[in-house]
Amino acid sequence: MRPTPEEQLRGLREVLERVVAPELHAPYPADVLAAAVAALERLEQCWRTVPAALRDESAELDTLLRDARAAVDRGLADAIAEALAAPAPDWLDPAAAVEHHEARRALLAEVVRRLGPAGARAPELWARIVAHLRRHVGGPL
Protein backbone atom coordinates (compact mmCIF):
# COMPACT_ATOMS: atom_id res chain seq x y z
CA MET A 1 0.00 0.00 0.00
CA ARG A 2 2.48 2.62 -1.16
CA PRO A 3 2.34 5.52 -0.99
CA THR A 4 0.73 5.10 2.41
CA PRO A 5 -1.81 7.69 3.58
CA GLU A 6 0.99 9.25 5.63
CA GLU A 7 3.28 9.43 2.59
CA GLN A 8 0.48 10.92 0.50
CA LEU A 9 -0.25 13.57 3.08
CA ARG A 10 3.44 14.47 3.34
CA GLY A 11 3.80 14.52 -0.45
CA LEU A 12 0.75 16.73 -0.87
CA ARG A 13 2.05 19.16 1.72
CA GLU A 14 5.48 19.31 0.10
CA VAL A 15 4.01 19.91 -3.37
CA LEU A 16 1.88 22.75 -2.06
CA GLU A 17 4.89 24.29 -0.31
CA ARG A 18 7.35 23.81 -3.18
CA VAL A 19 5.19 24.37 -6.26
CA VAL A 20 2.10 26.36 -5.35
CA ALA A 21 3.20 28.64 -2.50
CA PRO A 22 5.96 30.50 -4.46
CA GLU A 23 3.43 31.38 -7.17
CA LEU A 24 0.92 32.92 -4.77
CA HIS A 25 1.59 36.61 -4.45
CA ALA A 26 -1.74 37.89 -3.16
CA PRO A 27 -1.65 37.94 0.65
CA TYR A 28 -5.02 36.32 1.38
CA PRO A 29 -4.61 33.11 -0.66
CA ALA A 30 -0.99 32.83 0.54
CA ASP A 31 -2.19 33.02 4.12
CA VAL A 32 -4.92 30.45 3.52
CA LEU A 33 -2.43 28.08 1.86
CA ALA A 34 -0.03 28.37 4.82
CA ALA A 35 -2.86 27.37 7.17
CA ALA A 36 -3.83 24.46 4.91
CA VAL A 37 -0.23 23.21 4.84
CA ALA A 38 -0.07 23.36 8.64
CA ALA A 39 -3.31 21.35 8.86
CA LEU A 40 -1.93 18.70 6.48
CA GLU A 41 1.17 18.41 8.63
CA ARG A 42 -0.95 17.91 11.74
CA LEU A 43 -3.00 15.19 10.03
CA GLU A 44 0.15 13.50 8.78
CA GLN A 45 1.46 13.28 12.35
CA CYS A 46 -1.64 11.93 14.07
CA TRP A 47 -4.06 10.20 11.69
CA ARG A 48 -2.78 6.72 12.61
CA THR A 49 -3.46 7.13 16.32
CA VAL A 50 -7.10 8.20 15.97
CA PRO A 51 -8.91 4.80 15.96
CA ALA A 52 -7.05 3.53 19.04
CA ALA A 53 -7.56 6.85 20.83
CA LEU A 54 -11.31 6.71 20.18
CA ARG A 55 -11.52 3.13 21.41
CA ASP A 56 -9.49 3.75 24.58
CA GLU A 57 -11.26 6.95 25.51
CA SER A 58 -14.66 5.37 24.89
CA ALA A 59 -13.77 2.58 27.31
CA GLU A 60 -12.88 5.13 29.99
CA LEU A 61 -16.12 6.98 29.29
CA ASP A 62 -18.07 3.74 29.75
CA THR A 63 -16.61 3.34 33.25
CA LEU A 64 -17.38 6.93 34.21
CA LEU A 65 -20.92 6.74 32.85
CA ARG A 66 -21.58 3.45 34.61
CA ASP A 67 -20.60 5.03 37.93
CA ALA A 68 -22.52 8.22 37.18
CA ARG A 69 -25.88 6.45 37.02
CA ALA A 70 -26.29 6.58 40.79
CA ALA A 71 -25.62 10.34 40.90
CA VAL A 72 -28.08 11.53 38.24
CA ASP A 73 -31.84 11.50 37.76
CA ARG A 74 -33.72 8.47 36.55
CA GLY A 75 -34.20 9.65 32.97
CA LEU A 76 -30.49 10.23 32.38
CA ALA A 77 -29.55 7.05 34.27
CA ASP A 78 -31.84 5.04 31.97
CA ALA A 79 -30.35 6.70 28.86
CA ILE A 80 -26.86 5.79 30.10
CA ALA A 81 -27.90 2.20 30.80
CA GLU A 82 -29.36 1.87 27.32
CA ALA A 83 -26.20 3.25 25.71
CA LEU A 84 -23.95 0.97 27.73
CA ALA A 85 -26.02 -2.08 26.78
CA ALA A 86 -25.53 -1.45 23.05
CA PRO A 87 -22.76 -3.44 21.32
CA ALA A 88 -19.40 -1.75 20.73
CA PRO A 89 -18.82 -0.49 17.18
CA ASP A 90 -16.32 -1.87 14.72
CA TRP A 91 -13.33 0.27 15.71
CA LEU A 92 -11.90 -0.05 12.20
CA ASP A 93 -15.01 1.71 10.83
CA PRO A 94 -14.12 5.41 11.38
CA ALA A 95 -17.68 6.74 11.04
CA ALA A 96 -19.08 4.18 13.51
CA ALA A 97 -16.20 4.82 15.93
CA VAL A 98 -16.71 8.59 15.84
CA GLU A 99 -20.47 8.22 16.32
CA HIS A 100 -20.01 5.90 19.31
CA HIS A 101 -17.42 8.18 20.94
CA GLU A 102 -19.57 11.25 20.34
CA ALA A 103 -22.63 9.60 21.90
CA ARG A 104 -20.58 8.79 25.03
CA ARG A 105 -19.34 12.38 25.26
CA ALA A 106 -22.87 13.70 24.85
CA LEU A 107 -23.95 11.65 27.87
CA LEU A 108 -20.96 12.85 29.87
CA ALA A 109 -21.81 16.48 28.99
CA GLU A 110 -25.30 15.83 30.34
CA VAL A 111 -23.88 14.30 33.53
CA VAL A 112 -21.65 17.37 34.03
CA ARG A 113 -24.66 19.67 33.69
CA ARG A 114 -26.71 17.63 36.20
CA LEU A 115 -23.94 17.45 38.82
CA GLY A 116 -23.87 21.24 39.13
CA PRO A 117 -20.91 23.61 39.42
CA ALA A 118 -17.83 21.91 40.83
CA GLY A 119 -19.78 18.65 40.97
CA ALA A 120 -21.44 19.54 44.25
CA ARG A 121 -23.74 16.51 44.07
CA ALA A 122 -20.97 13.91 43.71
CA PRO A 123 -17.48 15.29 44.49
CA GLU A 124 -15.60 12.02 44.05
CA LEU A 125 -17.17 11.27 40.67
CA TRP A 126 -16.61 14.89 39.66
CA ALA A 127 -12.89 14.62 40.41
CA ARG A 128 -12.66 11.52 38.21
CA ILE A 129 -14.56 13.23 35.38
CA VAL A 130 -12.28 16.26 35.54
CA ALA A 131 -9.20 14.03 35.61
CA HIS A 132 -10.51 12.22 32.53
CA LEU A 133 -11.19 15.47 30.66
CA ARG A 134 -7.75 16.82 31.58
CA ARG A 135 -6.08 13.62 30.37
CA HIS A 136 -7.82 13.81 26.99
CA VAL A 137 -7.81 17.57 26.57
CA GLY A 138 -5.95 17.33 23.24
CA GLY A 139 -8.64 15.10 21.74
CA PRO A 140 -7.87 12.37 19.21
CA LEU A 141 -6.90 14.89 16.48
Binding site: Y28, A35, V112
Partner: protein, 346 residues
Protein backbone atom coordinates in the same frame (compact mmCIF):
# COMPACT_ATOMS: atom_id res chain seq x y z
CA UNK B 1 -8.29 41.35 -11.13
CA UNK B 2 -9.93 38.18 -9.79
CA UNK B 3 -13.59 37.39 -10.51
CA UNK B 4 -14.35 38.04 -6.85
CA UNK B 5 -12.69 41.48 -6.94
CA UNK B 6 -14.50 42.37 -10.18
CA UNK B 7 -17.79 41.43 -8.56
CA UNK B 8 -17.02 43.49 -5.45
CA UNK B 9 -16.05 46.50 -7.59
CA UNK B 10 -19.31 46.35 -9.54
CA UNK B 11 -21.29 46.05 -6.33
CA UNK B 12 -19.41 48.94 -4.70
CA UNK B 13 -20.01 51.11 -7.74
CA UNK B 14 -23.77 50.51 -7.54
CA UNK B 15 -23.80 50.99 -3.77
CA UNK B 16 -21.87 54.27 -3.80
CA UNK B 17 -24.04 55.59 -6.63
CA UNK B 18 -27.05 54.91 -4.42
CA UNK B 19 -25.46 56.49 -1.34
CA UNK B 20 -24.16 59.55 -3.19
CA UNK B 21 -27.12 60.84 -5.18
CA UNK B 22 -26.01 63.43 -7.69
CA UNK B 23 -22.43 62.17 -7.77
CA UNK B 24 -20.98 61.85 -11.26
CA UNK B 25 -17.93 60.19 -12.78
CA UNK B 26 -17.64 57.77 -9.88
CA UNK B 27 -14.30 55.94 -9.99
CA UNK B 28 -13.03 53.08 -7.85
CA UNK B 29 -9.31 52.26 -7.82
CA UNK B 30 -6.80 50.07 -5.97
CA UNK B 31 -9.45 47.64 -4.74
CA UNK B 32 -7.95 44.56 -3.10
CA UNK B 33 -8.74 42.09 -0.36
CA UNK B 34 -6.30 42.09 2.54
CA UNK B 35 -5.37 38.97 4.47
CA UNK B 36 -6.13 40.57 7.81
CA UNK B 37 -9.28 39.78 9.74
CA UNK B 38 -10.65 36.31 10.48
CA UNK B 39 -14.20 37.44 11.02
CA UNK B 40 -14.81 40.01 8.25
CA UNK B 41 -13.58 40.51 4.70
CA UNK B 42 -11.54 43.73 4.46
CA UNK B 43 -11.50 45.48 1.07
CA UNK B 44 -9.50 48.75 0.95
CA UNK B 45 -10.08 50.98 -2.08
CA UNK B 46 -9.90 54.58 -3.28
CA UNK B 47 -12.99 56.34 -4.59
CA UNK B 48 -13.44 59.61 -6.42
CA UNK B 49 -16.51 61.34 -7.79
CA UNK B 50 -17.60 64.73 -9.07
CA UNK B 51 -20.12 66.68 -7.02
CA UNK B 52 -21.07 69.79 -8.97
CA UNK B 53 -17.78 71.53 -9.79
CA UNK B 54 -15.90 69.76 -7.03
CA UNK B 55 -14.00 66.47 -7.30
CA UNK B 56 -14.18 64.46 -4.08
CA UNK B 57 -11.61 61.79 -3.20
CA UNK B 58 -11.81 59.29 -0.37
CA UNK B 59 -9.59 56.51 0.92
CA UNK B 60 -12.10 53.90 2.09
CA UNK B 61 -12.35 50.34 3.35
CA UNK B 62 -15.30 48.02 3.11
CA UNK B 63 -15.77 45.45 5.90
CA UNK B 64 -18.15 42.78 4.73
CA UNK B 65 -19.51 39.63 6.36
CA UNK B 66 -17.79 36.63 4.79
CA UNK B 67 -19.68 33.55 3.60
CA UNK B 68 -18.46 31.74 6.70
CA UNK B 69 -17.19 33.73 9.67
CA UNK B 70 -15.67 32.80 13.02
CA UNK B 71 -17.87 35.44 14.61
CA UNK B 72 -21.49 36.38 14.04
CA UNK B 73 -22.02 40.10 14.66
CA UNK B 74 -24.29 42.86 13.38
CA UNK B 75 -23.01 45.53 11.02
CA UNK B 76 -25.78 47.91 12.21
CA UNK B 77 -24.35 47.88 15.72
CA UNK B 78 -20.79 48.38 14.47
CA UNK B 79 -21.93 51.33 12.35
CA UNK B 80 -23.83 52.90 15.28
CA UNK B 81 -20.81 52.54 17.59
CA UNK B 82 -18.47 54.14 15.05
CA UNK B 83 -20.89 57.03 14.56
CA UNK B 84 -21.16 57.49 18.35
CA UNK B 85 -17.38 57.58 18.72
CA UNK B 86 -17.07 60.53 16.36
CA UNK B 87 -18.04 62.90 19.17
CA UNK B 88 -15.72 61.22 21.69
CA UNK B 89 -11.95 61.51 22.23
CA UNK B 90 -11.52 57.87 21.15
CA UNK B 91 -9.74 57.72 17.78
CA UNK B 92 -11.68 55.49 15.39
CA UNK B 93 -12.35 55.40 11.64
CA UNK B 94 -15.27 57.51 10.46
CA UNK B 95 -18.15 55.34 9.28
CA UNK B 96 -19.46 56.50 5.90
CA UNK B 97 -22.00 54.01 4.55
CA UNK B 98 -23.97 51.01 5.79
CA UNK B 99 -25.42 48.19 3.71
CA UNK B 100 -27.17 46.52 6.64
CA UNK B 101 -28.79 43.63 4.81
CA UNK B 102 -26.31 43.29 1.96
CA UNK B 103 -28.81 44.44 -0.67
CA UNK B 104 -26.01 46.04 -2.71
CA UNK B 105 -22.81 44.40 -1.52
CA UNK B 106 -24.05 40.80 -1.40
CA UNK B 107 -23.66 40.49 2.36
CA UNK B 108 -23.99 43.02 5.21
CA UNK B 109 -21.15 45.55 5.08
CA UNK B 110 -19.87 48.84 6.46
CA UNK B 111 -17.80 51.28 4.41
CA UNK B 112 -15.55 53.50 6.49
CA UNK B 113 -12.74 55.94 5.96
CA UNK B 114 -9.32 54.36 5.77
CA UNK B 115 -6.82 55.64 8.31
CA UNK B 116 -3.11 55.57 7.54
CA UNK B 117 -1.09 53.70 10.10
CA UNK B 118 0.79 50.51 10.83
CA UNK B 119 -0.45 47.44 12.61
CA UNK B 120 1.90 45.71 15.06
CA UNK B 121 0.36 42.94 17.16
CA UNK B 122 3.40 42.60 19.38
CA UNK B 123 4.47 46.24 19.69
CA UNK B 124 4.83 45.97 23.48
CA UNK B 125 7.43 43.24 23.06
CA UNK B 126 8.97 44.35 19.76
CA UNK B 127 12.32 45.93 18.96
CA UNK B 128 11.60 49.42 20.23
CA UNK B 129 13.46 50.62 23.35
CA UNK B 130 11.90 49.56 26.66
CA UNK B 131 10.93 53.14 27.52
CA UNK B 132 8.97 53.50 24.29
CA UNK B 133 7.22 50.17 24.81
CA UNK B 134 6.24 51.02 28.36
CA UNK B 135 4.99 54.43 27.20
CA UNK B 136 2.92 52.70 24.53
CA UNK B 137 1.49 50.22 27.05
CA UNK B 138 0.41 53.11 29.27
CA UNK B 139 -1.10 54.91 26.28
CA UNK B 140 -3.06 51.83 25.28
CA UNK B 141 -4.49 51.47 28.78
CA UNK B 142 -5.40 55.17 28.78
CA UNK B 143 -7.22 54.57 25.51
CA UNK B 144 -9.10 51.66 27.06
CA UNK B 145 -10.17 53.81 30.00
CA UNK B 146 -11.27 56.52 27.51
CA UNK B 147 -13.45 53.96 25.75
CA UNK B 148 -14.96 53.01 29.09
CA UNK B 149 -15.62 56.69 29.80
CA UNK B 150 -17.64 57.22 26.59
CA UNK B 151 -21.04 58.68 27.48
CA UNK B 152 -22.98 55.92 25.73
CA UNK B 153 -26.32 57.17 27.02
CA UNK B 154 -25.81 60.62 25.48
CA UNK B 155 -24.61 58.97 22.27
CA UNK B 156 -27.86 57.00 22.05
CA UNK B 157 -26.21 53.60 22.22
CA UNK B 158 -28.50 52.17 24.91
CA UNK B 159 -31.35 51.11 22.60
CA UNK B 160 -28.96 49.95 19.88
CA UNK B 161 -26.68 47.76 21.98
CA UNK B 162 -29.01 46.84 24.84
CA UNK B 163 -28.31 47.83 28.42
CA UNK B 164 -27.59 44.98 30.85
CA UNK B 165 -29.34 44.87 34.21
CA UNK B 166 -27.34 46.17 37.17
CA UNK B 167 -25.51 43.83 39.54
CA UNK B 168 -24.53 40.59 37.82
CA UNK B 169 -26.57 41.53 34.73
CA UNK B 170 -23.54 42.26 32.55
CA UNK B 171 -21.91 38.93 33.35
CA UNK B 172 -25.20 37.07 32.86
CA UNK B 173 -25.79 38.80 29.53
CA UNK B 174 -22.26 38.02 28.32
CA UNK B 175 -22.64 34.37 29.36
CA UNK B 176 -26.10 34.09 27.78
CA UNK B 177 -24.77 35.50 24.53
CA UNK B 178 -21.75 33.18 24.33
CA UNK B 179 -23.60 30.09 25.56
CA UNK B 180 -26.26 30.67 22.89
CA UNK B 181 -23.48 31.01 20.33
CA UNK B 182 -21.90 27.78 21.57
CA UNK B 183 -25.22 25.93 21.18
CA UNK B 184 -25.63 27.32 17.65
CA UNK B 185 -22.15 26.45 16.51
CA UNK B 186 -20.95 23.29 18.27
CA UNK B 187 -20.80 20.27 15.98
CA UNK B 188 -20.36 17.80 18.80
CA UNK B 189 -20.80 17.59 22.59
CA UNK B 190 -18.19 19.38 24.68
CA UNK B 191 -18.23 18.24 28.33
CA UNK B 192 -15.10 20.33 28.93
CA UNK B 193 -16.96 23.51 28.05
CA UNK B 194 -19.93 22.42 30.20
CA UNK B 195 -17.55 22.26 33.17
CA UNK B 196 -16.28 25.78 32.43
CA UNK B 197 -19.77 27.11 31.81
CA UNK B 198 -20.93 25.75 35.17
CA UNK B 199 -18.03 27.51 36.89
CA UNK B 200 -18.75 30.78 35.10
CA UNK B 201 -22.46 30.68 36.02
CA UNK B 202 -21.54 30.09 39.66
CA UNK B 203 -19.04 32.95 39.79
CA UNK B 204 -20.71 35.88 38.02
CA UNK B 205 -19.26 39.15 39.37
CA UNK B 206 -21.21 42.28 40.24
CA UNK B 207 -20.39 45.15 37.85
CA UNK B 208 -19.55 48.50 39.43
CA UNK B 209 -20.79 50.37 36.37
CA UNK B 210 -22.00 49.83 32.82
CA UNK B 211 -19.64 50.99 30.09
CA UNK B 212 -18.98 50.70 26.38
CA UNK B 213 -16.86 47.53 26.16
CA UNK B 214 -14.69 47.10 23.06
CA UNK B 215 -14.66 43.32 23.24
CA UNK B 216 -11.41 42.72 21.33
CA UNK B 217 -9.01 45.32 22.65
CA UNK B 218 -5.45 44.56 21.50
CA UNK B 219 -2.55 46.20 19.62
CA UNK B 220 -3.51 44.09 16.60
CA UNK B 221 -6.68 46.15 16.38
CA UNK B 222 -4.88 49.50 16.54
CA UNK B 223 -3.32 51.62 13.83
CA UNK B 224 -0.04 53.13 14.96
CA UNK B 225 2.14 55.96 13.72
CA UNK B 226 5.60 57.21 14.70
CA UNK B 227 5.10 60.17 17.01
CA UNK B 228 6.23 63.52 15.55
CA UNK B 229 9.12 65.10 17.46
CA UNK B 230 9.56 68.75 18.41
CA UNK B 231 11.09 69.54 15.01
CA UNK B 232 8.38 67.64 13.17
CA UNK B 233 10.55 64.56 12.57
CA UNK B 234 9.76 61.12 13.95
CA UNK B 235 10.96 60.23 17.43
CA UNK B 236 12.87 56.98 17.37
CA UNK B 237 10.67 54.22 18.72
CA UNK B 238 7.77 56.24 20.11
CA UNK B 239 4.37 55.49 18.64
CA UNK B 240 0.94 57.03 18.90
CA UNK B 241 -2.36 55.23 18.44
CA UNK B 242 -4.11 56.88 15.50
CA UNK B 243 -7.15 54.61 15.35
CA UNK B 244 -8.81 51.85 17.30
CA UNK B 245 -10.36 49.32 14.91
CA UNK B 246 -12.68 46.30 14.94
CA UNK B 247 -15.69 47.48 16.90
CA UNK B 248 -17.81 44.55 15.82
CA UNK B 249 -17.96 42.99 19.31
CA UNK B 250 -18.49 46.31 21.11
CA UNK B 251 -21.37 46.20 23.58
CA UNK B 252 -22.56 47.63 26.87
CA UNK B 253 -21.27 45.69 29.83
CA UNK B 254 -18.85 45.46 32.72
CA UNK B 255 -15.68 47.40 31.83
CA UNK B 256 -13.64 44.76 33.62
CA UNK B 257 -14.54 42.45 30.73
CA UNK B 258 -11.99 44.32 28.58
CA UNK B 259 -9.48 44.22 31.43
CA UNK B 260 -9.94 40.45 31.64
CA UNK B 261 -9.37 40.26 27.88
CA UNK B 262 -6.04 42.09 28.02
CA UNK B 263 -4.78 40.26 31.12
CA UNK B 264 -5.67 36.85 29.67
CA UNK B 265 -2.52 34.75 30.19
CA UNK B 266 -2.90 33.44 26.64
CA UNK B 267 -2.30 36.93 25.26
CA UNK B 268 0.56 37.93 27.55
CA UNK B 269 2.90 38.70 24.63
CA UNK B 270 0.40 41.16 23.15
CA UNK B 271 -0.23 43.15 26.32
CA UNK B 272 2.42 42.57 28.97
CA UNK B 273 6.12 43.34 29.32
CA UNK B 274 7.83 40.80 31.60
CA UNK B 275 8.92 42.31 34.90
CA UNK B 276 7.74 45.79 33.99
CA UNK B 277 4.12 45.80 32.87
CA UNK B 278 2.36 42.72 34.12
CA UNK B 279 -1.12 41.77 35.25
CA UNK B 280 -0.87 43.51 38.65
CA UNK B 281 0.63 46.69 37.10
CA UNK B 282 -2.17 46.85 34.54
CA UNK B 283 -4.86 46.35 37.19
CA UNK B 284 -3.32 48.97 39.50
CA UNK B 285 -2.96 51.59 36.76
CA UNK B 286 -6.49 50.89 35.53
CA UNK B 287 -7.81 51.51 39.05
CA UNK B 288 -5.96 54.86 39.11
CA UNK B 289 -7.33 55.84 35.71
CA UNK B 290 -10.95 54.89 36.30
CA UNK B 291 -11.53 54.85 40.04
CA UNK B 292 -12.94 51.33 39.71
CA UNK B 293 -11.80 48.52 42.00
CA UNK B 294 -10.21 45.50 40.36
CA UNK B 295 -10.30 42.30 42.39
CA UNK B 296 -8.45 39.13 41.48
CA UNK B 297 -11.73 37.18 41.56
CA UNK B 298 -13.37 39.55 39.05
CA UNK B 299 -10.33 39.50 36.80
CA UNK B 300 -10.19 35.71 36.87
CA UNK B 301 -13.86 35.45 35.90
CA UNK B 302 -13.31 37.70 32.89
CA UNK B 303 -10.07 35.88 31.99
CA UNK B 304 -12.00 32.61 31.89
CA UNK B 305 -14.82 34.18 29.89
CA UNK B 306 -12.26 35.60 27.43
CA UNK B 307 -11.02 32.09 26.74
CA UNK B 308 -14.55 30.70 26.60
CA UNK B 309 -15.34 33.29 23.91
CA UNK B 310 -12.22 32.32 22.00
CA UNK B 311 -13.19 28.64 22.23
CA UNK B 312 -16.64 29.43 20.80
CA UNK B 313 -14.98 31.44 18.01
CA UNK B 314 -12.77 28.43 17.18
CA UNK B 315 -15.84 26.16 17.11
CA UNK B 316 -17.61 28.65 14.84
CA UNK B 317 -14.63 28.48 12.49
CA UNK B 318 -14.76 24.68 12.63
CA UNK B 319 -18.45 24.67 11.63
CA UNK B 320 -17.80 27.11 8.78
CA UNK B 321 -15.00 24.89 7.52
CA UNK B 322 -16.99 21.66 7.75
CA UNK B 323 -19.94 23.27 5.95
CA UNK B 324 -17.69 24.52 3.17
CA UNK B 325 -18.13 28.20 4.03
CA UNK B 326 -14.71 28.88 5.55
CA UNK B 327 -11.25 28.95 4.02
CA UNK B 328 -9.31 27.92 7.11
CA UNK B 329 -9.09 24.67 9.04
CA UNK B 330 -10.09 24.92 12.69
CA UNK B 331 -9.71 21.99 15.07
CA UNK B 332 -10.66 21.48 18.74
CA UNK B 333 -9.86 24.41 21.09
CA UNK B 334 -7.69 22.14 23.25
CA UNK B 335 -5.15 24.73 24.41
CA UNK B 336 -7.96 27.07 25.46
CA UNK B 337 -9.66 24.31 27.44
CA UNK B 338 -6.39 23.46 29.21
CA UNK B 339 -5.88 27.11 30.13
CA UNK B 340 -9.46 27.52 31.39
CA UNK B 341 -9.10 24.43 33.58
CA UNK B 342 -5.92 25.92 35.01
CA UNK B 343 -7.59 29.27 35.66
CA UNK B 344 -10.54 27.73 37.48
CA UNK B 345 -8.20 25.53 39.47
CA UNK B 346 -9.10 22.03 38.31
Amino acid sequence: MSDEAADVEARLRAFLADQLPGAQDLEIANLRRTSSGFSRENWPFDASWRSGDRVERAALIMRRDPVGSVLVTDRREEFAVLRALESSPVPAPRARFLDADGAFLGRPAVVMERVDGDCDWFVVNGERPLGARVAFAHRALELLSAIHAVDWRAAGLGPVLGEPAPGTGAATAALDRWEAELRRQQLEPYPELEVVLGWLRANEPVAQTTALVHGDFKPGNMLLRAEPGAGGGPVEGNVEIVAMLDWETAHLGDPLEDLGWITNPLRRREHQIPGVWERADIARRYEELTGLRVTEADLRFWNVLANFKLAVIVLTGARSFVEGRGDRVFTAPSALVALMFELIGI
